[in-house]
């Protein structure tokens, strides 16, 4: 299916997972009748009924807590939190309950659940509807964290997340929902923890994930016309993340820039850069550059938000700096 939209890939992954496994259930605010705020669950109520596609009250904490109990009880809940910013109300359930139950219980049980978290700006949705908080979850032992950029990955990683026995935080960039791409008839099953080399290159490694992948590819195009060959690694999975692929690339290019939409300081890129600096020290001909949002809440005005979100030019500049 060429020209499948990202949101449609999510929708299809949910539908196919529900078809394949009767224990998969969906929960979230306005996901049933209304098909979700971003229409990720459109049509699923009709197909699977209200017991498996469940509209919830506006109670994020109890929803995610209930998902943990349901997962321990033999269901595989997939929860939609409308905006990632609202997961602030469900942190106990995710971090103290979901992430730790298997460990705390001595391995007696797994907690197969997925929490879908739309993140990112570009919609002028303002400071409480645009944040990228994935670094929080990557820091929590017991959680897995995925962030697909492409339409195919949106599908295959969501299937992988639902199949996974452990709790998965599944991060989708809202600005990608309308993006169309290729979704093969039989998409490959994705392995959690495997990055993808989205573009091969030899002068510098761009490490990225989510919507920023496309800015990296744009930057790589622009750099190519200046004779700079950038390799682009799409992490896809942030916890665990694919050190081997990243370090392997850096071993060839000797330079790296890590780029994401989240705030730069203490973001996911810090860990990636630290590991490259540590384990790839002898390979590096230049400091690892980092591109991320500046240290401010996501501003509302178009003119502000467009400067806030790291663009291709910023990535290009970081590459140029690393080659200087």
């Amino acid at each position: 299916m060429a020209d499948t939209r990202y949101i449609r890939a999510i929708n299809k992954a949910l539908a196919d997972a529900m078809d394949a496994d009767a224990s998969v259930v969906l929960m979230g605010e306005d996901i049933a009748d209304a098909g979700g705020s971003f229409k990720a669950t459109r049509g699923l109520l009709d197909r699977f009924g209200p017991a498996r596609v469940r509209d919830t009250p506006i109670s994020e904490g109890a929803i995610v807590g209930a998902a943990v109990g349901a997962a321990l009880g033999g269901l595989k809940p997939v929860v939609e939190i409308m905006f990632m910013d609202f997961v602030t109300l469900a942190m106990d359930a995710l971090v103290n309950q979901a992430a730790k139950s298997r460990f705390m219980f001595g391995g007696q049980a797994s907690v197969p659940m997925v929490v879908r978290l739309p993140h990112g700006g570009g919609l002028n949705a303002g400071p409480q509807h645009s944040q990228c908080l994935e670094a929080w979850f990557a820091h929590i032992p017991g959680l897995k964290v995925l962030c697909p950029a492409t339409v195919e990955d949106a599908y295959s990683l969501l299937r992988a997340a639902i199949d996974d026995p452990d709790p998965v935080v599944f991060v989708e960039n809202k600005a990608l929902y309308a993006m169309a791409g290729d979704l093969p008839e039989e998409p490959a099953r994705a392995s959690i923890g495997k990055a993808r080399i989205a573009r091969q290159g030899s002068d510098v490694t761009l490490v990225t994930y989510g919507a920023t992948l496309f800015n990296c590819l744009k930057a790589a195009d622009a750099l190519a016309s200046d004779g700079i060959s950038a390799e682009v690694v799409d992490l896809r999975s942030l916890q665990p993340w694919d050190k081997e692929t990243v370090l392997g690339s850096v071993a060839r290019t000797h330079r790296a820039v890590v780029a994401h939409e989240a705030v730069r300081s203490f973001g996911v890129g810090a860990e990636i850069a630290a590991v490259i600096g540590e384990e790839g020290f002898d390979d590096l001909d230049a400091p690892v550059g980092r591109v991320g949002a500046p240290f401010m809440p996501v501003p509302f005005a178009r003119s502000l938000e467009s400067r806030f979100i790291p663009d291709a030019a910023a990535i290009q500049a970081a590459v140029v700096a690393s080659l200087a």
Partner: protein, 329 residues
């Protein structure tokens, strides 16, 4: 007709005229916003309170200068009724430098500390603990003020409300919990999301509950006065205002989920039409009321024009203002 003549005409019921004026301002503002949004002049998304004007006008009519309020994603009416500068309001929603919040917040976070407006809020339920804390400050600092938490019926499902009801009761805080009950949470009837009865929940905490037709401006103003008196003298009170949301959850929402019957019934309950009819009944001339509408619309149009002409916010200045500048305190 000047306002003195108008007041005379309605036999001293100047309060209703004031409420009506406030509602007209909200109506004109949001009608303009609806158009601006459709035209792409407003970024992001906006939630209009068209149909709910009487709640805003009525509740804010009971507040004094020391009082504070925190509101929701659907907060335009409240901040306008509280007297926010119309220019600063439009500039904010249009993302301009001269915006009340310098273009950083948009519709969902408009605030005016000078008027005691602790912000609209993007998080359902979050207004309630904010107002609770404000009430605590009123009590501790003996300001004589009260705090108002506006929240929607859907927000009753958030634990925050229940935690706050308990704390307000425990500490006898000077606070009004205003539930703006429009029957809807986004695209679903709240009845399908919330099984509790607010009157009984309040009662379980020993908190007085006042129920009012929130499309009747005068009744709402009366109830709000009663609630404010209670809050000031005794402690927390819940004011539940039954009202109607005319537009979709956000602008652009076609509301296919609402049946034609409900849509038709809306017009009958229109709070602005009701106060207009009542004023005419009291002797005011339709033409005079029309003139107020025109004046109001002109005011709004001027504010929109000024916003369009305003500069865009400066990025570096914005970045430099995340923390309080050194020496500012």
């Amino acid at each position: 007709m000047n306002s003195r003549t108008a007041k005379k005409a309605i036999g001293g019921n100047s309060r209703l005229l004031d409420l009506h004026r406030t509602m007209l301002l909200i109506r004109a503002t949001e009608t303009a916003l609806s158009k601006l949004f459709a035209d792409g002049e407003i970024p992001g998304f906006i939630h209009l309170s068209l149909g709910q004007e009487a709640v805003a006008a009525g509740v804010c009519s009971a507040l004094g200068p020391a009082d504070t309020l925190a509101t929701t994603h659907r907060g335009h009416g409240h901040v306008i009724a509280r007297g926010i500068d119309l220019g600063g309001f439009f500039k904010e929603l249009m993302g301009r430098e001269g915006g009340q919040c310098k273009g950083r917040s948009g519709s969902m976070h408009v605030a005016d500390m000078g008027l005691g407006i602790l912000g609209a809020n993007g998080i359902v339920g979050a207004s309630v603990p904010l107002a609770l804390g404000s009430a605590l400050a009123h009590q501790t600092r003996a300001t004589g003020g009260i705090a108002v938490a506006f929240f929607g019926d859907g927000a009753m499902a958030e634990g925050a409300l229940h935690e706050a009801l308990n704390m307000a009761a425990l500490w006898s805080l000077p606070m009004i919990f205003v539930c703006e009950n429009n029957g809807w949470s986004e695209f679903s009837p709240t009845a399908r999301q919330f099984r509790g009865k607010l009157a009984n929940i309040a009662g379980a905490f020993g908190i007085r509950h006042i129920h009012v037709d929130g499309n009747d401006a005068e009744a709402t103003a009366d109830a709000a006065r009663e609630a404010a008196d209670h809050a000031r003298a005794t402690g927390p009170v819940v004011l539940e205002c039954m009202t109607t949301r005319f537009h979709g959850h956000f602008e652009g929402d076609p509301q296919k989920y609402r049946d034609s019957e409900e849509m038709a019934a809306m017009a009958a309950g229109d709070p602005v039409a009701r106060s207009r009819a009542r004023l005419i009944e009291l002797g005011m001339a339709a033409a005079d009321l029309d003139a107020i509408v025109s004046e109001t619309e002109a005011r709004v149009a001027a504010a929109v024009e000024a916003s369009r002409a305003d500069a865009l916010p400066d990025f570096d200045a914005t970045l430099a203002d995340v923390y309080t500048p050194m020496g500012a305190h």
